[in-house]
Amino acid sequence: MKKLFFLCFIFLLTGCNFAAKSDDQPLYMGSNKVIDQTKADEAKQIILSMEEVIAVKAVEFEEDIFVAAQVKQFDRFFLDQIRKKAHEKIKKRYPETQVHVSTDKKVFLELEKLEEEIYHNKIKKAEIKKKWKKIEDFMKG
């Protein structure tokens, strides 16, 4: 029994080390897509410059930018402040756009998918609109 626990423990430790190392580069989508993503790209850079943030996903659509950040484990105690700070930073850069910042895992995953699809030009504008509504709901919960 004890051995089993020990193994679990080791597994957990190693597992989390892997996760910590994988702070991947954000995907810059550029302007030549279905929708111009330059604002989103810049937002990513702004957010990533925050030291609490490991990874970031962002997509813009019409007047909105959705940003999802992954925060360092020990900064997760202060998610509220981090969200506020990130929001202010982007808002300063683009005062006329609606900025939504989330730290939710689900939003992060959904935006990641959307980014990929936009990057590879696999998605049409109407479909994005549909997805947009869904992601907005996730941000609220």
């Binding site: 679990c8 989390c16 910590a20 484990q73 998610l79």
Partner: protein, 116 residues
């Protein structure tokens, strides 16, 4: 990473429960009630939500989160409807846990016999 901290924080909350039972010599029912009340108070002080952000299920699975969720439901409803909302909203968030326990518990009583 979140898995690791879920394990650690969940474990620590259980150790607090164990200390209440073994050192303070509370009965299990007293221990659980104490933990639920402390969960409610921690949320009142705004400390439980950050813990959930930090440890995920490590903070939502222990019974302390039950107190937290009760306060949350009450506060959310109070924001919309004023003081009456405190009463109407208490079970808003926790209904899933309680109804699941009642329904599955009842079904279990239909199917199982105590094994001894």
């Amino acid at each position: 990473m979140i898995f690791f901290w879920a394990f650690i924080i969940g474990g620590i909350i259980c150790v607090i429960g164990q200390v209440l039972m073994d050192v303070v010599k509370l009965t299990p029912a007293h221990t659980m009630s104490t933990l639920v009340v402390s969960g409610a108070i921690l949320d009142g002080l705004g400390l439980y939500e950050p813990l959930i952000d930090f440890a995920g299920a490590g903070a939502t699975i222990p019974i302390t989160s039950f107190g937290n969720a009760l306060v949350h439901g009450a506060l959310a409803e109070a924001e919309r409807h004023g003081l009456v909302g405190v009463i109407t909203g208490i079970f808003e968030v926790t209904s899933a846990g309680i109804s699941a326990a009642i329904i599955f518990g009842f079904l279990a009583a239909l199917v199982f016999k105590p094994k001894g």
